[in-house]
């Protein structure tokens, strides 16, 4: 897809064209969902984060500064929504700090297989690059644009994430 298509659709969405915004979601919702997954403890949370983020993105699209950077902007909203949600849950559940920390790191769920558990237990910055690379099917450059870091940083984080995954899976039946 030419880069200008997203920009043109964004410009239309800014002018109030909901069909254009829905096209943007269809094109980039997978990337937004990848960011949501990196900060969620389960798939339902991720879906709810994406729903809330999509509405906020639509309601605030008139405030976008650079229409050529819709994806990064939308993903930053996903990130904010996920953080807000995490804070709300912390207040509501009044969990001890240790538990909060575990939650943010993404505790594994019973029944999920070893590889999923291993990914879920990664620190968020490492889990984020894994989700964007594998779930979002993005390149290093695209990931760098979204998380606001350099390509070498993405490379470093992905390498570190894989190292940690290998260590965690060392004793599992699916060890690489």
């Amino acid at each position: 897809m030419p880069g200008s298509t997203t920009e043109a659709l964004t410009q239309r969405a800014v002018r109030g064209d909901r069909a254009a915004f829905e096209a943007l979601l269809a094109l980039h919702g997978r990337t937004m969902l990848a960011v949501a997954r990196a900060r969620s403890s389960n798939s339902t949370d991720a879906e709810e984060i994406l729903q809330e983020s999509s509405v906020r993105t639509w309601q605030n699209i008139g405030k976008i500064n650079d229409t050529s950077r819709f994806v990064a902007w939308a993903c930053s909203i996903v990130d904010h929504v996920a953080r807000d949600r995490s804070r709300r849950e912390r207040v509501r559940e009044a969990k001890p700090l240790d538990d909060v920390s575990d939650r943010e790191r993404g505790p594994s769920e019973a029944g999920r297989n070893a590889i999923v558990n291993a990914v879920s237990s990664l620190p968020v910055p490492l889990r984020e690059v894994i989700e964007l690379f594998y779930f979002g099917n993005l390149t290093y450059r695209e990931i760098a644009d979204i998380i606001g870091k350099s390509v070498p940083t993405v490379n470093l984080r992905l390498a570190e994430a894989r190292t940690q995954l290998r260590l965690q899976l060392k004793d599992s039946p699916v060890a690489p």
Binding site: A20, L27, V116
Partner: protein
């Protein structure tokens, strides 16, 4: 050799010289080869774990609900502030005599300010005599596209509709024989009314079709109810075309499924299935194959609405790109999407002209208009082509 470099090699992120350098090292270093094999193994496991990602994303995206946006800045279809503020244009005409009624209240809470100094006897050219204010809660949608502004008789109230006008609960809308229109409803559902279609928007998620043809994309939620020909069509979410013609009535399902309830009988109609409701008989559910139709209709609305060339291309391009990304399409549509990605309006027109068997006469005519216009402007076209 760093771990990052080996990862970047695995991911195809290195330049050619860097890649060749690593391949030379791999030939010489068995430990490095073993390390790469470990990485490849992990990568394979991860790719296998994430192989359902496109389907998962598609499923989640398809369930997203995007509400009407609160308008705080000018939107092209929101220029008539009526839509946002609940102000609508009231045009009152006494139906039988053609005499103007000074003020007429059609909805509870409607307050009309009369302007009785004007009169009009021709229903085709009604005059504006009043503006009225409606409670905001009565506005349940908006006219988002129309091939031309049109007037419709709503009880004794003749109302002029144009893009951006609000749709109130209980509104009767009749599109003239030469006008098609699209409506966005507050719950995220969309309606497209064919030419000569008469409907009543009875509630937020309920519609009665008197005659004509309606395309509905119902947003997820409580079933969207369509009443037609003594039948009740319930759509939890999906895309449906319902038509009520003098000699034929039918429900066609394009996405999701609907229940068609007629007397004691109920039929489940799934994607690309249709059921007849002709002559008071509920027919059997059968498949149909006209998938380009809805797209042609969208195209036609845009063209006939006078959308600028570039806007049209971007709209259709975005639509197809979204379709391609989320659903997968056949090779013809794939090729079309790629052609459109080059922003060639000519390609679109040629495609529509060459696929006449799938399209409505209007869509073919629209394509021909474009081709004729481009043919009449050879210098401009060649300039455009050269600039690509």
């Amino acid at each position: 050799m760093t771990n990052e470099k080996l990862n970047a090699y695995l991911d195809g992120e290195l330049s050619d010289p860097e890649r060749r350098d690593i391949e030379l090292q791999l030939e010489r270093d068995p430990n490095l080869r073993a390390e790469l094999e470990q990485l490849q193994s992990l990568d394979g496991m991860l790719r296998n774990e994430y192989k359902q990602s496109p389907a998962i994303a598609e499923n989640v995206i398809s369930k997203l609900t995007i509400p009407e946006r609160r308008r705080t800045h000018a939107a092209w279809f929101a220029l008539p502030l009526a839509a946002a503020a609940g102000l609508v244009l009231g045009i009152l005409i006494q139906k039988n005599t053609g005499e103007t009624t000074p003020a007429q209240t059609t909805d509870p809470g409607t307050k009309l300010v009369s302007d009785s100094g004007k009169s009009e006897t021709n229903l085709k050219t009604p005059i504006e005599i009043a503006s009225c204010s409606l409670p905001e809660h009565q506005s349940i949608g908006m006219l988002t596209l129309a091939t031309a502004p049109f007037s419709t008789i709503d009880g004794k109230l003749a109302r002029e509709y144009k893009i951006g006008d609000s749709i109130v609960k209980g509104a009767f809308i009749t599109t003239p024989p030469d006008v098609r229109a699209a409506l966005a409803l507050g719950d995220g559902s969309e309606l497209r009314l064919d030419r000569g279609t008469a409907v009543e928007i009875t509630d937020r998620r309920q519609l009665t079709i008197r005659s004509g043809r309606v395309w509905l994309r119902s947003a997820p939620g409580e079933p969207f109810v369509i009443l037609m020909n003594n039948a009740r069509v319930e759509s939890p979410a999906g895309e449906t075309i319902c038509s009520v013609q003098p000699d034929h009535a039918a429900v066609e399902q394009y996405k999701g499924s609907v229940s068609v309830i007629f007397g004691q009988e109920t039929r489940a109609v799934k994607e690309y299935e249709t059921v007849d409701l002709t002559n008071g008989v509920l027919g059997v559910v059968r498949p149909f194959f006209t998938d380009p139709f809805a797209t042609a209709w969208l195209f036609e609305l845009r063209v006939l609405a006078g959308m600028q060339d570039e806007e049209l291309v971007l709209q259709v391009n975005g639509y197809f790109e979204a379709l391609r990304r989320t659903k997968g399409i056949n090779p013809i549509w794939e090729a079309l999407a790629l052609e459109m990605a080059s922003h060639s309006k000519l390609a679109i027109a040629r495609f529509y002209e060459s696929n006449q068997s799938h399209l409505s006469p209007e869509a073919r005519s629209a394509a021909k208009v474009i081709l004729d216009r481009l043919a009449a402007e050879p210098s401009k076209n060649s300039k455009q082509n050269n600039s690509k």
